[in-house]
């Protein structure tokens, strides 16, 4: 009982009608590393945010050392010894490590003493940072270290790390794990939010699994296997009765070879990705969010700089054109028709303050000579999309931002499929949509497929991917961990690939 640092009983949290957490029971023990495992959107971060005082639970109780507590702010959390290291760091770039660490603390600013204490903490657990180093000079992993030391400096006994390894190299991950083990020896309670099975197996003592906001079970790591964990994480397959018409003779349309991209920080977002998308086929892309899906679609459409590799578009006469190194406009000019439904609808695909007509014009504004644009064609297209897809809006001039999510998506998809592009890229096309709208979108995608388009469908729900897609490409950490047949693959198989870098057994 004394060993138990924090106990959660029947925690519930809702955001409007969305239930993020329900019926969560969890025990966090001292001297133990607990992994919180679950797919994206399973409520891991929400749960931990309640512990760190960012959210407050709508129901249930939190006990710290057996006392019932209310955690109303991060300050309260610190008082209870809880410290959270977020996925996105909150550091002041122009301050030194030590300055960042004492930021917000109500104590005398004796920077010399702070430096010594920081040094002590570092030596104790094996961190390698210089307290006098400025944050803007630090690597991502050093910034993370500062965040961890910051929490330790405040005397936290319970550390929550939200996907700490997402931004680290394998070597840095090993180093982090060594530090975590040191902390465990020091009788601290550690919660690690992750969805990488290999890491769970490597470092944790216990694993708690969440699925769709619900608590599934807590198991001892030693007594379980990656397969069993995957089962608990993805749940049983649900039948959705989606259509998957068969297209007679698919041909290669898009050949991607050795595609590698790096982001601004120099982190590899895609690593040696190769696959082929065929006409008359929906190629699903599965993976934990942030495994490189966004970068994959954006590099195909010319919006993301490619470091190496090739993306070839196959014309109807079998000649190929290289798309790497071309801007979206150049790709359009050489006659490659590509539709792209990006994940960020209003931030990338549409202009929120404009109506349907002007949004249709985003694809055709350049057409025609002269200074003035032609509003006739987009107006006609807007009318057609409005009627054909049953978009609920008072007029085609009504700002799309004020429409509901489903209608916004219909406008976007409607525009992208209007010209029957040979390649159609979609990212989370049904995210946040109700069942009916989702089915409407699935049907539109199937229509495109049967019309001979090569459709790429980046999705998050495995059940949908398995019923809608002909083949499923599984990404993990920017690498292809497998390409499976949508008709024969099992949910467990995909779930395991999603959590296994490079497709090797965890």
């Amino acid at each position: 009982m004394q060993n138990c640092a924090i106990e959660l009983k029947n925690i519930r949290k809702t955001f409007g009608p969305v239930v993020a957490n329900d019926g969560i029971n969890l025990q966090i023990n001292r001297g133990e590393i607990l992994c919180l495992l679950g797919e994206n959107g399973s409520g891991k971060t929400t749960l931990m945010n309640m512990l760190s005082g960012i959210y407050q639970p709508d129901g249930g109780e939190i006990y710290a050392d057996g006392r019932k507590v209310t955690i109303r702010s991060p300050h309260d959390a610190f008082k209870n010894g809880i410290g959270m290291i977020h996925q996105h760091y909150h550091l002041v770039d122009v301050f030194t490590a030590a300055q960042n660490i004492i930021l917000g603390l109500d104590e005398a600013m004796d920077i010399g003493r702070v430096n010594t204490r920081v040094k002590e903490i570092c030596d104790r657990y094996g961190f390698g940072i210089d307290p006098k180093m400025k944050v803007y000079d630090m690597s991502v992993s050093q910034k993370q270290t500062v965040e961890i030391v910051k929490v330790l400096y405040r005397g936290s006994e319970i550390l929550i790390l939200d996907e700490p390894t997402a931004v680290l190299t394998p070597q840095e991950t090993d180093k982090l794990f060594a530090v975590l083990r040191n902390m465990r020896r020091d009788n601290k309670a550690i919660v690690l939010i992750t969805h990488k099975l290999a890491e769970v197996m490597a470092v944790s003592d216990k694993v708690a699994i969440l699925r769709k906001g619900r608590y599934i079970a807590t198991v001892n790591t030693k007594e379980t296997s990656p397969g069993e964990l995957t089962d608990m994480m993805v749940g049983r397959a649900v039948t959705l009765n989606l259509d998957r018409p068969k297209y007679d003779n698919p041909e290669d349309k898009l050949v991607v070879e050795g595609l590698t991209v790096v982001d601004r920080e120099g982190i590899k977002k895609l690593n040696n990705v190769s696959f082929t998308a065929r006409t008359g086929e929906i190629l699903g892309v599965a993976g934990i969010a942030g495994s490189g899906q966004k970068e994959l679609l954006e590099s195909i459409s010319g919006l993301y700089p490619v470091k190496s590799g090739s993306i070839k578009f196959v014309n109807t006469d079998k000649t190929t054109v290289e798309l790497v190194g071309k801007t979206p406009t150049q790709i359009k000019e050489i006659g490659v028709g590509m539709g792209f439904v990006p994940e960020d609808r209003l931030g990338m695909g549409l202009v929120g303050s404009m109506g349907m007509t002007d949004n249709m014009m985003l694809r055709s504004w350049r057409e025609g000579r002269g200074l003035f644009f032609n509003r006739k064609k987009p107006q006609d297209l807007a009318d057609r999309v409005w009627k054909k897809l049953d978009v609920v809006t008072p007029s085609t001039e009504f700002p799309v931002r004020r429409m509901s999510g489903g209608n916004i998506q219909k406008v976007l998809v409607g525009r992208e499929i209007a010209s029957h592009p040979p390649v159609l890229l979609t990212a989370y096309a049904v995210r946040g949509l109700d069942i009916n709208t989702s089915y409407a979108i699935y049907n539109l995608l199937n229509d495109q497929k049967m019309g001979g388009s090569a459709v790429m469908y980046v999705g998050e729900e495995l059940d949908v991917l398995m019923e809608l897609c002909d083949r499923i490409l599984v990404l993990c950490d920017g690498q292809v961990s497998g390409i499976v047949d949508g008709r024969t693959a099992t949910k467990e198989e995909i779930g395991l690939l999603m959590t296994t870098v490079g497709g090797k057994e965890a």
Binding site: P17, T327, K332, R345, G352, S353, G432, L433
Partner: protein, 398 residues
């Protein structure tokens, strides 16, 4: 216990953002009108302190700016550069490029056309040719002055607010140097002699023909912003740079182009002031118009035609308060305080259009509100959390 403590913490007054569905255009107009009324009432306090009847003072302001032909012409003269700069800033603000360098761009234009006036004014060149040369040079100089910050923003993502602001001081500094150095008339006067008559803009209806140029720009800018590909590009970038890139727009190039255009129109303002009104160059050629234009642009919500009204209003106050000073001895500084109060109220009322104030006791309203936020959350969630955030922040643009 803790719940009780929490309830008592409900602040006495709090602010909440009105949802878009609650924005009633009629209400907005009412708020704007009442802001002017409040401004007039507040403004009467400093006037009272000088011992003048505020009603009489306001009467003099109106009479002294519109009351007779001469006053009216002077008011229009004041209005021309202000309106021109406001028009120039419009596309930048639409693009969310905070160009506060109209002052410097106007000065740059003024310097360039003064150079032509000084070099060729005494030559045998016909007046129309000199004026055209002055016009072109003003456009190019103003344009370059705008293009430079645009270039650095596009290439190196520098902060355009600071950059354009600093460019103002450089331009004004150059004018000052010319005034006291190479172009100085009699040594020690710090004055550039009046240019040759050939460089004067002809008068039409008693005012230099700059007003025709500016009215033309009003119409051109209106069509530019609403009907052309360029205007569309600018509007898309203002909403989301990512969307612009997605639609295949070259964001950097469009920024530079728009800043050139903006600077060029400010340059025209400089030309109009030099050739139409001052007939010489000095370091205060912009006379704060570049900054006041920001207010005009903003208050007009970037609508070219509304800019005419707002700039007229500001010109009336400015001219009227001069008359006020001459007639009843109200110091010019008091008149400036009054116009400051008016601007403050007019800008401040935008806040009340977008937000509402709630008191602790308005519980029943609260319940309604929370129901509507739940509704919003529902709409938001169908959309993914991410997209609901830009939806809120981008509201400022409208």
């Amino acid at each position: 216990m803790s719940d009780k403590a929490k309830k008592n913490k409900t602040p006495f007054i709090r602010l909440s953002k009105k949802s878009e569905s609650m924005l009633d255009p009629r209400k907005a107009v009412a708020i704007r009108i009442s802001s002017v009324v409040v401004a007039l009432i507040l403004g009467s306090i400093p006037i009272l302190l000088t011992g003048v009847n505020p009603v009489k003072a306001y009467g003099i302001i109106v009479q002294g700016s519109l009351g007779n032909k001469i006053y009216l012409q002077q008011t229009i003269k004041k209005m021309i550069p202000l309106l021109c700069c406001a028009l120039a800033i419009g596309p930048c603000f639409k693009m969310r490029f905070w160009n506060i360098g109209a002052e410097g761009q106007l000065t740059a234009g003024a310097i360039a056309c003064s150079a032509i006036a000084i070099w060729f004014g005494k030559s045998s060149m016909p007046s129309i040719l000199i004026l055209s040369l002055m016009f072109i040079f003003a456009i190019v100089a103003g344009g370059i002055w705008g293009f430079i910050p645009g270039y650095f923003k596009a290439k190196y993502n520098t902060n355009e607010t600071l950059f354009t602001l600093m460019m103002n001081y450089i331009a004004i500094g150059i004018a000052k140097w010319l005034q006291g150095g190479p172009w100085e008339g009699r040594k020690g006067t710090q004055i550039i002699p009046i240019f040759d008559r050939k460089t004067f803009l002809p008068n039409v209806l008693g005012v230099h023909c700059g007003w025709i140029i500016v009215l033309l720009i009003v119409i051109i800018m209106h069509y530019y912003m609403t009907r052309t590909k360029h205007g569309f590009e600018v509007a898309v970038i203002g909403d989301s740079e990512n969307t612009a890139r997605y639609a295949g727009m070259n964001v950097g190039w469009i920024m530079m182009r728009t800043m050139f255009l903006s600077g060029a129109i400010c340059g025209i303002a400089g030309f109009v002031v030099v050739a139409g009104a001052n007939h010489t160059l000095n370091d205060v050629v912009a006379d704060g118009n570049g900054f006041t234009a920001i207010t005009v642009s903003w208050l007009s919500q970037l609508n070219s035609y509304v800019m005419i009204l707002i700039s007229a209003l500001l010109a009336i106050i400015s001219k009227g308060s001069k008359t006020l000073n001459q007639r009843v001895g109200v110091p010019a500084s008091v008149a400036e305080i009054v116009s400051g109060i008016l601007l403050f109220c007019m800008l401040g009322c935008e806040f009340f259009i977008n937000y509402e104030i709630k008191f602790r006791w308005s519980r029943d309203k609260d319940a309604k509100k929370s129901a509507s936020t739940a509704e919003q959350a529902k709409n938001g969630s169908t959309d993914g959390n991410r997209s609901s955030i830009p939806a809120n922040t981008s509201k400022e643009a409208e």
